[in-house]
Structures are given as C-alpha cells and as structure tokens.
Symmetry: C5
Subunit: 321 residues, 5 copies
C-alpha cells in the first residue's frame, strides 16, 4: 500500500507526486523522492524497482521478508533492513522495515508494523537545513526513530525483571516466577536478534570505508550506533541477570525445601515421642504400679505434654520450627 | 553413479553429452560442462579428475568423505564441501555434497543424500541470462538450494522446542522432557556443525580477496552468506533456550519436590496427631473418668476428627495441601 | 550551574573570567579556558555551544544524558562521557561527567554527582609545567580522578564478597546470603557498564591514530587505560567468584538438606522401633507370659531403651546424628 | 636411540648412512637426510645439533620436553612439536614428537610414544614424485600421520559419551555415571590441549607469510589444518554434550528423588491411616458398641483394608505409586 | 634497599660500583649497569630516576605498586611489571617485580617477595657470550626465572585438584570439599591475573614491531611467551575442571540425598507395617478368636517378623537398603 510519495529539492518539499512522475523529479538538481510503502504487494515493488532501478536480490529480500537486520551495498545504493519491536501480551512482536536508499531516492517499506513514520517525515521537513543533505539524512532519521522506539521496550523488560526480582525474594518460589523468567529470557533473545545485527551493520556506516551515499553523514550514524550500543548492553545486562536469577531461584527453592524438611523432621519427632510415651502406658503388663495411682492419668498426660513442649522449645530455638 | 552430464554455451543448454566428450566441449568459447554424480565410485572420480584436471587432495577428500563444510582454492578452481541435513526419527541425518568448480566446469557429487538437485538445474536452464555467468552461478544456485533446505530443518527444531516448552510448564516434570531437551541440544550441535563452518567459508566469497572463478557473483554469495547467518543465529537461539530450559526444568522439578514434601509433612502431622490422641485413650490407667462416660467414645472420636479437620483447614490455607 | 570559568596561559592561571569574555581569551597564544558546569541547563549549554562552537550532536547527548561512556571525535575536538560510581545503601549510584575538549578549551559538565573536581583544578594549577600541555592534560587529570575514584568502589565490592564468603561457609545457608550475592552481581554488572566501555574508549587515545588534540599526551592516557584495565579485571574476578559462590551455595544448601534428611531418617527409625515394641506388649493375647512377670514392665522398658540407645549409638557413629 | 638415518636425493633413497657421514650427503644437490630418534639422550641431540646446526633454544626445548604443540621458526629452519595421544585404561596417554626441519634435513624425535613412524617412511619412499619436494613433504607426512592417529581417539571418546548417554537415560542415576562424565570431560580437556594449539600452529603454514622451507607445500598443510579443524570441533561437541549431560543428569537425579518422595508420602499416608483406625478400636472406652458385635473384628479389618485399598488406588491413579 | 649495583662490559663483570658512579660507567662502550633493589624507598627510586633518566609515570607506578603485569615503552626504554606467585597456607601470595630496561642499564625492583634473584645474576655472569647482548638478555633471564617459578605453583594447584577429586568420588560429600573447590577457584583466578596479562605483554616482544632495546633477542622472548602459554592453559584446565567438579559434586550430593531418602522410605514402610499389625491385635473387640489361641502370641510375632523380613528382602533387592 502506498502511504506517501513526495519530491524534495534543496531540503524543501516540492509536492506529493504520483508514482508515475517519479522519474521526472529525480533528475532535477539536488532533488530526491521519498516514497513510503506499507505491506507492499509484489506489483508495487516491481513498479518501484522499475522507477528506481533497484537491485533484483534486494527486491527479492524485501518481498520474501524475514530478513536479518542488515545494510547491504548494491553499487552506490543501499538496502537496509531493520526490525521493529513491540511488546504485547505474550512476547515481543517483531515487524520489518526495509529501506532502499540511492542518491536520488529513499523508499521505505514496512511489514507487520502498524505505527507510521509520519512524524519522521514531519520532523525532516521542518529541519530543512538537514534535509538538504538528501537521502542519507532521511535514512538517519528513519533509523534514529526505529532505534528510539527500542528504548521503551528495553525499559519494559527492565521493569519486568525488576518485578520478578522483588517477587522472587519476597514470596515463596512458584511456577509463575520460573515461567516469567523463561519468557523474559526468550524476549531478550528475540530483542537481541533485532538490535544486535543492526548495531553491527550500522558500524559499517561510521568509520572505515563508508558507502558513498552516506559519506557526508557518518557522524549521525555514529550516534545511531551509539544508541544501539546502549540498547545492546542493556539487553545483555538483563540477559545476565535473568540467568543469575534462575540460578538464585533454584537455590531459594532448595532453601525452602530445606526448611520444610526441617519442620517435617521436628513435628515428626515431637509426635513420635508422644505416641511412644502413650504406647508405654497402653502395654498390658500386670505389674505397672503407676496405672493404679489416683493421679496417674493426669501425671502421664502432663509428662507427655511437657516432653513435647520441651522439644518444641528446643526446635524453635535452633530455628527448625 | 552419473546423474547428468550436460554442456552449456552462453547460458543455453547444448545437449546431454557422454563423459568421454567433455574435453571437446570445454574448449568452446563461453561454454562449460555441468556434471552431477551421486555416491561416486573411485573410478568415476578418477575419470573426472582426468577430464577436468582436478587437484589430487580435493579428489582424495571427496573420496574419503566426512569432510567439514569448507571452500578451498586450488589454483583457479574451487572445491566446496557442504552438508545436507534431514530430520529423521532419531536425530539429524547429515549427507555431503562436494562441488568442484572451475572456469569451464561444475562437478557436483553427493553422498548419503537421496534428494536430487534436478530442480536447481531446471531453474538455471530457465534463467539463461543468469546462467551466462557460467559455473559461478551454478555454484550459487546449488549453495542456495542446500541452504534453503536448511530452513525447514530449523523450523522443525523450533517447533520441537516449542512443544517441549509447553509440556514443561503444563505437566509435571518427567524423564521424557529431559531426554527430549538433551536430544534437541544434540541436534543443534549437529546442525551447527553443518551450517557454522559453511557460513565462515562463504564469507570468503564475498568481500576481501575473492577467488577468480566467482569474482563476478559476489553479491549472490553475500545473499547466501546472509541466509546462513539467519540459520546460524536461529540455531544459537534454540541452543540458548534449550540450556535455559534445562535449568528451568531442574527448578520446576525441585519445586514439585518441595510441594510433595509439604504435603507429606502436612498429612504426616495430621495422622500423627490422630494416632497420638487415640493412643491416649488406649492407656490402661485405672482412673480415667472419661472412659466411663456414656458418650465418651463419640466425644473422643469427634475430638480427634475436629482436631484433624482444623489442621487440614490450616494447612490448606497456608498452601501446603 | 556554572562552577568555574578560568583562563590559563602557558600553564599559569590568568584569572576567573565571565562567560561572555571567553572569546577574547581563547585567541591569546598558548591560552585556553577551562569551564566547569554542574547539572547544566539547556540555556547554559547553548551559550557554551555558541562560545566554543561545539558540535550539535555532542551537545544534544550532553543534554539528554544517559549516554554510555565514550570518546567521540568531532573534527578536531573531543566529546568524552564518563560515568561516576558511588556506593550507597541499595546499590550503586551512577552519575555522568561530560567533557568537551578542543585546542583552546575544556568544558566539563557533571550530572547527578555531588562531589566536585576542584582538587583536580588545584593539582593542575600547581603542576604548571604539565598544564602547559594544555587541554589534553586537563582531560587526563579529570579522567585520572574519575578512574581513581573507582578504586574504593572496587574495594567495597571486594569486601562485600569477602563477607558473604565468610558467612556462607560459617553459618547455615539463608535467603540473605542469596539476596546479597544477587545484589553483588547486579552491582558488578552496573560497575562494568561504567568501566568497561571507558577502557575501550581510552584505548583509542593511546596507540594507533590518536586524535590531534591529545597527540602529545598518549603516555598519560596509556596510564589511565592501565588503571581501567585493573579495575575491569578486578570486576571480572568478583563477577566470576560470585557465580561460583552461587553454585557452591546451592551445594551447601543441598548438603544441609541431606543432613536434615539423615537426622529425620535416624530419629524416625528410633521412634518407630520404640513404638513398634511397646505396641507388641499392648496386644491383647491371652497367653503372653511376660505380662505376668513381676519385673516384666521394667524389663520391657529397659529393652526398649537399650534398643533405642543402640540405634542412637550406631547412627551417631555413622555420622547421621 | 637412533632409529634410522637415511639420505635421499631427487625423491629416491640413496642409502642408510652413519650419523658421522651426514655432512657429506647434505651438500649433494636436491638431497636431504632424514633421521629418526626415539627418547634421545642429550648426547645424541648434541651430535645432531652439531651436524645440522640446530638452534640452541629448540634443542633445549626438545631435551626438556613437556612443550606445548607449536611450530617455531629459527632462521630458515622449523622446530615442530606435536603431541601423540593414546587411550589407555585410566585416561589419555600423551607423548611428544619433535621435528626439526631444514632445507637439507628432517630430524624427528619422539618421547614417551611407542608406536613407530616407519610406515610414514615407507609411504614417502613409495611416492617418490612427492618426496622430491624434500623435507617439507616429510614434515607433512609426519603431521598427517600424527593427526590421522587422533581420529580413533576421537571415536573412542564419542563412543564413551554414547554409552554414558544410553546408561543415563536407561538406568537410575549412580555415582559411576557421574565419575565417567567427569573423566570424559578431563580427557576432552587433555585431548584439546594436544589438538588445539597444533591447529593454531599449522594455520601459520597455510596462508599469510609462510616459512620458506614449506613454501611449496601449503596446500598439503591446509589439508592437515582441515583435519585438525574436524578433530577440534569433534572434541568441542563432546565437551558441550558432556556439560549438558552433567546438567541433565542432575535433573534426572532430582526427578528420581521426587519419585521416591512421592512414594514415601503415599505409603506413609496409607499406613498412618491404618494405624490411626486400629488405634481407635484399641481405646478403652466402656461404651463402644461395635466392640461387642459378633462380626465387629472382621468388619473393622475390612474397613481398614478397604480404606487403604482405596487410598492405594487413588495414589496409583495420580502416579504417586 | 639496594641489593647489588654492578657494571658489565662486553658480557664481563667489571666490578661492584657505588650508585654515585653509575653515570661514569654507562658511557663506556658496550657497557651497562645492573642494579637490584628490594622494597625500594621513594628516595632510592628518585636517585635511580636521576641516574638513568627514568620516565616519571613509570617511577610513579613503581612507587605505588599494585600494577597489573605489563610491558610499557617509554621512548627507547622499557618498564616491565611482573607478579611473583607463592603458595602459602591460606591462598596465593602475590609479589611484584618491576624492571626498568634501557640500552645501558637494567634496574630491577621487587616488592613483597622474599626470594632473591641472585642465581639469575650468577647464571648471566657465567654465560658471558649471552650477556654480551646486554640489558635485553638480563631482562630475558629475569623473566625466564619469574616464569619458571610459576611451574611449581601450577603443579601445587594441580595436585590440590587431584586430591579434591579423589576425595570427592571416594567419600560422602562434605562442606570441606566445597570450600576447597571454592578456594582453588579463587587461587586460579589470582594466578591467572599474574600470568595472563604477562603473556599478553610478552607477545609484544616477539613478532610485529619489537621495541628497539630487545630487538636482537626476540627468539628468547618467544620462548618465555611459550612457557607462559603453557602456564595459562594449565590454569585454564584447572579452572574448567573445578567448575565441572562443583557441578558434579552437587550431583553427588543429590544422589546421596536420594539414597538417604530411599532408606528413610524403606525403614518407615517396614516399621509402619509392624506398628499397624501389632495395633490390630491391640484392638478391644470381644470376638477375636486368635487372641485366645495357645500359640497366638508367638504366631503373631512371627507373622510380624516375617512380613517385615520379606519387605526388607524386597527393598534390599531393589537397592533401596
């Protein structure tokens, strides 16, 4: 689906243009066309391929989807794949944004991602002194937006970890904690798959041999790279703490088990003593003088109770009860 | 066993040719011969070695089999070893495809792998504008096919993990889950041994000093490399989740143990109390007035029952029962 | 908030100057201006940006805060971000120090960090032969101070580990130990996020292509790098020992559990024997001659006691009690 | 001990020669001398050092032994250390083979390794077209042999793992399994110490700046490197599976424990119920009408039995028994 | 404290000289001065700094101590820091040796290390053909000595591991084993901190751009590097085996626990049966014919005993007792 198709010259918007006129605009000096697609059909992509002369393999990748985040050079154009990440009820939802960048065009194409990038366009049009730099700046603005949207996701995961930790040390261990830890780990792995390769890829736009089309904007991409670095080390921290939490949680469970066993042992001992004692006076020997005593029964009962009480006191003191 | 032996010129099929005529065709301009073998005998390989002038060490490797996936340069020809991977009942079945590529020939040779590569040939013959690029494109097409066949395997493993996870959190722990996790880990390790070294090897065909014979097709091999990257990070994810699952499963087992112990403790306490109480009235003291009461017996019984009931209620409330 | 704004020439302090006069001083030969800000407002930063011609992206980073430690080159100026680390009651408090360094100015700006760097300024003014080297030396002095303040933090963590270890092997396992280990791990991860990237960044100032502005001071930065190396390997050691401690602690818990179980088993056996024995003489058979014996009762009691005593002795010998 | 000392020219054996005549042969065109020593004495090595002009440090290393596998260049000669590995009853037996290679000589010297390398010599003499390449080919042949002898060791370890796995999932956990896993891990570590550094070292003979003496044989050494790569990744796989097996085994033990606990709980409950019930009718109340019933006793017994039977049925159904 | 101060020329000792005369000797052709200090005071170091023109930062490092092992170039002199390691009762004692090396001097300075390096001096003076190479050879000799003294430490740790392993598999698990494993891990970490960075540092003296002052002795430093490689991989092995041992030990503890639980279950069952049976005949029903039998009592007793005996036999057979 075509979202926008706008021509720009010298950092200023010329006008919304029909796709068919693209070729007339991209030959103007300092002009470029910025097209935004969403869940594009093969036909749309084919049209774009024709208009902009996109490389066959890049178009194929964009059609098939499920690419890793990457930045590929085809001659002097770039094909960038980024993953969008949203938190929903049962995990992370990962969408895809493909961006084709040439010297005279930017074509963005998102798949399975509802949020639009209109604010990026608005911001770019406002900062026309930057937009003068052409498609490279647009690419930067799109990347910056995608990456900036990673931060709330990271925060959500951090909060989740925070809650699990609190619950882990405050309440007895339960299956839910374990399942949450497992799901958090899974989300970290998913998130890392979005942010990790992108960081790697972006590092190629900053330093070393930089592709021609972004050569004048390396400082901007270094900034994006830096943000990705923070995202990634944030994920790594959560990752590591989750692993530790799983281990610590196992220890907590064992500790609880230990406590249960101690109580079990203590109560078993107390009742075994009582049962043993009353059993004694239940024996049928003829010559058991205490059985005839006037106060034999209450004495026996109090003997049993005081023995049990003493044991109870001992166990409590040694922390078993 | 010889499967096909076909000569091509300018991207078009000339004809099926007998092995003996190979040398006449490979001297035609822009022509090359594409031979497909299966479980080749030493004699067949020796013949091929003679026709194409293959390097002794490469031929030896192809004969012995059990090579790691690799790409080796011998002068200006390449020897490529790839592993095919199939899921069967008790693990992964790994086969081997060796490809010799020179400027005028492609010789593929598969071992222990039933599925043919005829569709690759069909596709290549259809896309004659690509086939013009010669043996390099054939190599790409073969690699692409082998790697594309990795994706369903990856999916199978992902589904397996998925099922184990569900079962792990839904039902009590059992030996089967553990054995499945162990086998899944084993499959990951096996799969990684196929896909990991191949990725490494392919990266040499894309960027840096590229072997002469594939110099004009690096973009294609970058695509293969990218797919292998996805496969490998997919395997790594499963790998990591399996390790976590093993740890979490241990915790689940301990937790269950904990619950069993709690129930054991609770029931033991309830019955110990009952036994102790009835033991009291089983004592033989002469002066136990309640024994003579008219309703002593039902009173005693209800005392025992209400005590046990109260304990039951307490344990239930504190989650032990 | 402006802390200081001082002009220096040939390593000597000229005078405290108002911000508005900065531009007059930085054109003097061998002169530079050193400004210290604290929790600067956007307006203050904007003024500084105007006076020193700071790069827009660097200023934005300084405003937003929450940057990773890094050293970035903008033309021939540097933007350095360092983290300050303080230990407080519930974890580590991390602040931020941003330093802009050009050939004629140093601008430091700290966020969320109360301790001042006045002693750095005092030391620099005292060592005027060093201060002659200009802004690079000031940068070194600031870095050296920040890094030197890491050492007491490292020591605190080492002491914490030390205490946990002692307690772990000396007293029975408890939740507190586990929570402390977990928190220590968290602190390590936090600390590492401050010290790790800084080390990486500083290594760029020593060896290889060194930024122009610090070119004559690489030996100093190598020293800082070396200190950071020590800090980092110190953190890594604690990290590793914490992981081991968590594992060992789990074993200690299991061991304790084992002991409790043994005791439980032993006492259960002793009382079960006693109960069984007294139960025998509580049977109502008519022909049980020992019941009529004069000393049947004391004999029975001593039989029970001596059996239990023997069991007790056996269990004690085998270490179960 | 001197095993052989043979002179070769143009790939053909000239004759067995006494050590003293070495210097006369190594000056012939295209000739070289191949000496094999076993557990050489200092005197023998000193003689060789004199004849071939070996480097002092290399000779010292050969004398002292216990070197890591390595390849060192001394001027235009090489000193190669390889480890031989044999499986015996209580672990791996590691021997050492040192090879000195110059343009006119090969001197091999094995320590603590009984198997001879005579078949290598036989093979080399048979393939005289290869032997023409001189000492480099001999070095290759020796390395190839040492590395080929690693494969059966790898297989033995794989089989060991296989057996442990089978036993682990088929029978209840026991100390033996754990000890075997531990020993297997130890063997992996030992084996890795032989094969890992050698792979690293051999990679220097293939690609990059290759030592002069082997410059014409890099393809052969690439082959050795490849074999070592397979060995090493084989060891890594075992390594990894052993670690997983240890973890899984712990889970299996816990699971078994869990089952034992469940059974314990179930039986305890059944007998506690029975004991409690018979205790009731053992009470001495005067008014317990069922005691006078004609069939009170069998009724009581069957009440007890059916209650226990019902419990048994319930526990069996819920999988506790 | 000054230990020695000796001047050498052409590899021969000239004489012991007072510190004040150093400057006269170091201008002689092919001469150098070798000074050994121990726990040097700031004043001594200042004197040396003046005599040899040492770099301020290096001197500061030597004064402060607690450096990581490192090799730093200052102009054409080197500053080397090595750690000495000694085993004592409660861990490793780590000392420090700092060596300043210039073209005309060697200054060694040890801290917290009692053993002298006099034998190094003796050996160097004996091998005057080597000593001719000047300060570089002295540096090599000192390094070689420090590293050689690592080997017995490594052996001690290996023996410790060995003992722990034996004890672990031979006797029941106990706290001591765990504490020993933990301490061994700690020692490995400490040792690694001494040997690891030194290896890294030494690798700069062998291959690549080598500092001028040691340029003619790279082969010697490669030898030291090689020894350090062995030390480090030895430590790594112990490290890894300790981690495995901790895991295996946990399994052994669990296994023991399992056995205890089984025994507990078995004995509990046996006694519960006995108690239940004797309880039956303790019931007060009027019509229990067996109570009147002449041999009822012995029959009952033997019924109980044989039931218990049968259970005992069953449990023993199934390995629970």
């Amino acid at each position: 689906m075509l979202i926008n198709c706008v021509a720009y010259q010298d950092g200023k918007k010329l006008s919304d243009i029909p796709v068919a006129d693209i070729s007339e605009y991209i030959i103007l000096p300092n002009a470029f066309v910025w097209v935004a697609l969403k869940d594009s059909s093969p036909a749309e992509l084919a049209e774009m391929q024709f208009e902009f002369g996109l490389h066959e393999l890049a178009v194929e990748d964009a059609l098939v989807g499920h690419q890793r985040p990457k930045i590929e050079e085809y001659g002097d154009s770039l094909f960038v794949v980024m993953h969008t990440v949203e938190v929903n009820d049962d995990g992370l939802h990962v969408g895809e944004v493909g961006v084709f960048v040439g010297t005279t065009y930017v074509l963005s194409n998102r798949h399975g991602y509802e949020q639009s990038f209109n604010d990026v366009r608005t911001r770019c049009e406002r900062e026309s002194h930057h937009l003068k730099q052409g498609p490279a700046f647009v690419l930067y603005a799109l990347m910056d937006e995608v990456v900036d949207r990673y931060f709330p996701v990271l925060e959500t995961l951090e909060n989740e970890l925070w809650k699990i930790e609190e619950q882990m040390f405050a309440t007895p261990a339960c299956r839910t904690t374990l399942e949450q830890l497992y799901q958090l780990k899974r989300k970290c792995v998913q998130f890392k798959h979005a942010a990790g390769p992108l960081m790697e890829a972006v590092s190629k736009l900053d330093g070393g041999r930089v592709p021609y089309v972004v050569a004048n904007s390396t400082e901007y991409f270094r900034d994006v790279h830096d943000h990705l670095h923070r995202i990634n080390s944030g994920i790594d921290s959560i990752h590591e703490m989750v692993s530790t939490a799983i281990q610590v949680n196992l220890s907590l469970i064992s500790l609880e088990d230990n406590n249960v066993n101690k109580r079990l042992a203590a109560w078993a001992a107390i009742f075994a003593v009582a049962t043993g004692m009353v059993g004694i006076w239940g024996m049928n020997f003829e010559h058991m003088p205490e059985l005839q005593w006037q106060y034999g029964y209450p004495l026996a009962l109090s003997a049993v109770l005081s023995t049990c009480g003493y044991l109870f006191y001992r166990f409590r003191k040694s922390g078993w009860l």
